[in-house]
Amino acid sequence: MSIALHLLAATGGLTGELDAGLAKVGYGLAAIGPGIGIGYLVGQSVQAMARQPEMAGQVRTTMFLGIAFAEALALIGFVLFFL
């Protein structure tokens, strides 16, 4: 794989384009991961609130903090994309 990349870079001068493309793919993956995490987290929280409505306050507290932590991964992807 790396040999193919080197050949591409040597023959076509594509290093910059490859880097930009890989950065975009990385950013996309960094956004998909938290998306899956948030979907699962909120789904489970809704289920917990439906089962025990009296615990909704605690569930929402932990859900909000969980969402914030999942979003941090997307922010790391954003930073790496632009760096």
Partner: protein
Amino acid sequence: MSPMEFAVPQPSTERIESTIAHDLAKKGLIVAPIVVIGLGVWRGPEAALGAVLALGIVIVNFLAAAWILGWTARNAPHALTGVALMSFLVRLLIITILGAGIKALDIVDWPVFCFTLIGSYFVLLFWELRSVSLTLAYPGLKPKPGHHEE
């Protein structure tokens, strides 16, 4: 109440998310002068501006997430999953556009902006997590105003 009747517990209508986000914002405002002045002295005014913008983005992002999720949890809990995902995407899109704009304008020290964004996000989140876990573990730790134990 007759033996056949039972009370159906109602979902919480408290503004939990907003309370957490306001607490986070307060902590951010406490940290902001130290970070901005420190980075400004170390790397110059562009770094200070980068730190201000990064902290602003982090705090506004928390407040926006809290407002959207809190409103949905109180008024339309059945739509919570969809709203949470859409708000995540929209906020990420806005942050990306802002980041691209700030980078294109070239008015800030870019590495400082990036590392302040990530660093302040994690520091504020862990700080808040500590307070929240203490409050959940010891709910009677902070008495409400006007509450007196007999």
